[in-house]
């Protein structure tokens, strides 16, 4: 008996003889939680979903859903008997049925149980009204992906698995769908595992995020913690939202860096005075100050609408990202000097 809604206990997921994710243990505590799995392409994220759905078997560990073992070395409940829905990344709509008929396949299963979501509601939020009479080959890949998502949502599963559900959806429409999808999943308490390579999508949708790297589940935590408190250099490198610079611990709350000078803040882990560490600098850790005497050279500037990300070169040739509000009074061009506010105070200091 477990108190968790879904429990994956020491399972090795096998995509191929060479491609495995070993000894994964994670749980979804509550019904209605959304977890996102992040990782580079080809690492085996889809295999995790396929295995949970029952399309692949496991040789070690066990998967428990709603207090029932659905996969283990000697148990394998067939996919059709799990009430788990998986929306594939590629177009898996039935080619000889039109979009509305495809969607009704999901609703048909729903009808056998307690009615949860209405077809109209899902069709509207996924903006599928104009393609309902069309066949899969007559619609775009983004529309097909949304239709597949609609079919899965309407089947009212105990567990919904989404494999890169919005990867083919236009960017302008993507954010709108993300908001509505989160609302629907939360309101209807649909427990969901989403596989994505888009960390922003994962951080927004997920109650928790799992980072899969080098055949392991490296970190499984709240999105905030995954971003601000990555537990390994691999996770930092994968998220690509900061730079590691060499520094020396000089006190309980201070470090000394050749490139940035004295840095103050709260260490999230204790390091002995005099230790050489690698300090994580994220774009929001440093502040811009034109009057500062700490000047670094601009090597790149990315305009992101709400903000700029300046990439600066340090004296020891490291590059550091710095976040600047979009309405900042002036912009700095490449090769210009860029001032960093001193003293440097970082809210939480992450070192390796």
């Amino acid at each position: 008996m477990t108190k968790n809604f879904l429990e994956i206990d020491n399972v090795t997921f096998t995509a191929s003889a060479k491609n495995k994710i070993n000894n994964v243990s994670l749980h979804i505590e509550n019904k209605g939680d959304i977890i996102c799995l992040l990782g580079p392409s080809g690492i085996g994220k889809t295999t995790i979903l396929r295995t949970i759905a029952g399309l692949e078997r496991i040789n070690s560990g066990k998967i428990i859903l709603n207090n029932k073992v659905i996969s283990s070395n000697d148990t394998h409940i067939e996919p059709e008997n799990r009430n788990i829905s998986l929306a594939f990344q590629d177009n898996s709509l039935f080619p000889h049925y039109n979009v509305i008929q495809n969607i009704q396949f999901g609703a048909e299963r729903n009808n056998k149980k307690k009615k949860n979501l209405a077809i109209d509601e899902v069709v509207n939020f996924l903006n599928l009204k104009h393609v309902l009479d069309k066949f899969p080959h007559q619609i775009s890949s983004g529309e097909a992906q949304r239709a597949s998502l609609a079919r899965s949502l309407l089947s009212n599963p105990d567990l919904l698995l989404l494999d890169e559900p919005l990867s083919n959806v236009d960017q302008n429409f993507k954010e709108e769908i993300q908001v509505k999808l989160k609302k629907i999943l939360t309101e209807h308490k649909i427990t969901t595992i989403i596989v994505t390579h888009d960390s922003y999508e994962a951080f927004y949708l997920g109650t928790k995020c799992g980072i899969i790297l080098d055949g392991q589940l490296k970190q499984y935590d709240d999105p905030y913690n995954v971003y601000h408190f990555p537990n390994s250099i691999e996770v930092v490198n994968f998220l690509n939202r900061g730079t590691l610079i060499p520094a020396k611990v000089t006190g309980e709350n201070t470090l000394e860096s050749v490139d940035l000078g004295t840095i103050k803040g709260n260490f999230i882990k204790h390091y002995a005075k005099g230790s050489d560490v690698k300090l994580l600098i994220q774009p929001e850790d440093l502040e811009h100050d034109d009057g500062s005497n700490l000047k670094l050279e601009v090597v790149d500037r990315q305009f992101r609408g709400t903000n700029f990300i300046y990439t600066l070169k340090t004296p020891s040739n490291l590059t550091i990202p710095v976040f600047v509000h979009s309405h900042h009074i002036h912009q700095h061009e490449v090769d210009e000097k860029f001032g960093i506010k001193r003293p440097i105070n970082i809210d939480h200091i992450v070192c390796f």
């Binding site: 594939f88 898996s92 396949f105």
Partner: protein
């Protein structure tokens, strides 16, 4: 090598006609088997040669947009006339002239037509077409679906082997079938003191359909297989995940998707069977005639005028099937 009707009519001695004569005229099954063996060796040699010639062949599929539609060339003047004349000549020689000649003979000699039991011939032909198509399509479906679900290498190999029948002339298959049944009856059935099974399988509709099955299984199996190749496996998986059992996925997803392919395969089998000659001649029950066997018997007796009417009906039925087929091809 599979051709029997034409070479037999023109009196050309081939291994195929030799097998037929050995069995039908001389009642010598051993001789028929021996000649079949030589013919099989020859076929095997050709298959190896064909396989060898394709060994280094490579195929590239252009990515989306890589395929450019070729612009049709509009012919005018003399070129247009020559192209039209060439095509019309082929149509005239291969279809129009023989059909008109047969039509002329049928009208000129109405006695031959009235002597034919048209309804019986039609029903016999359709019975063979219907039973064979049903058996071939059903079993092809079972084996292909089994392959898809189980992904068993053994089943896949067996399916590949089972489609080799199309490469073997029908006459060899018929003789081999008779030999096997005779051996089985003489050695196994009689050993257990059971009633002979020869009459069930030799000179019966059942035996005839079984040999058709071996001969045309590749047509049905490859047709279903290529239909299945168009269905991405994730579609099956989606169905399972929507709560559909494997059987329900088969009936609700596969059958509706493949229904056009099934009809097309049925038509192709029908066209093959209504004109099939050597297997039908050897395996048919006594006095069981089809349009093809009736035409052959009259033609072999040099009664070409009498052979005209059944041939004409055979062409009408085949043309009807071909018309349906071409409509499907255009639709595709």
């Amino acid at each position: 090598m599979s051709d029997f009707g034409s070479v037999s009519f023109f009196g050309i001695s081939t291994l195929t006609t030799a097998i037929y004569n050995a069995w039908i005229s001389f009642d010598d099954l051993n001789l028929a088997n021996r000649i079949s063996f030589y013919l099989l060796i020859f076929i095997l040699g050709l298959l190896i040669l064909e396989n060898f010639s394709r060994k280094k062949a490579q195929y590239h599929t252009p990515t989306k947009g890589g395929l450019r539609k070729r612009k049709p060339i509009d012919l005018t003047g003399q070129k247009s006339f020559l192209a039209f004349f060439f095509c019309a000549l082929i149509f005239f020689i291969s279809f129009l002239f023989p059909v008109l000649q047969m039509l002329y003979w049928t009208i000129s000699f109405p006695k031959h037509l009235s002597d034919l039991n048209l309804i019986k011939l039609f029903l016999n032909t359709i019975l063979l077409v219907f039973l064979s198509s049903f058996l071939l399509i059903s079993l092809s479906f079972i084996s292909n679906y089994g392959n898809r679900v189980s992904r068993s290498k053994l089943l896949n190999t067996l399916t590949t082997l089972s489609i080799s029948g199309y490469a073997i002339p029908g006459i060899i298959l018929a003789v081999a079938f008779i030999t096997f049944i005779s051996w089985f009856d003489d050695n196994i059935i009689s050993f257990f003191g059971l009633k002979t099974i020869k009459s069930i399988f030799i000179g019966s509709i059942l035996g005839l359909i079984l040999v058709y099955f071996i001969r045309f299984y590749s047509l049905a199996s490859n047709g279903i297989k290529s239909g299945y190749l168009k269905i991405n496996y994730s579609i099956d998986e989606s169905a399972y995940l929507l709560g559909y059992s494997k059987f329900k996925t088969f009936t609700n997803i596969h059958i509706p998707y493949l229904k056009d392919s099934i009809l097309l395969i049925g038509i192709l089998i029908a066209i093959e069977i209504i004109k099939e000659l050597p297997i039908t001649l050897i395996m048919r029950p006594f006095n069981f005639e089809t349009f093809a066997t009736t035409a052959y018997i009259f033609a072999s007796q040099d009664l070409l005028e009498a052979a005209a009417a059944p041939s004409l009906f055979l062409i009408i039925i085949a043309s009807f099937f071909i018309l349906i087929t071409s409509r499907f091809i255009h639709k595709d």
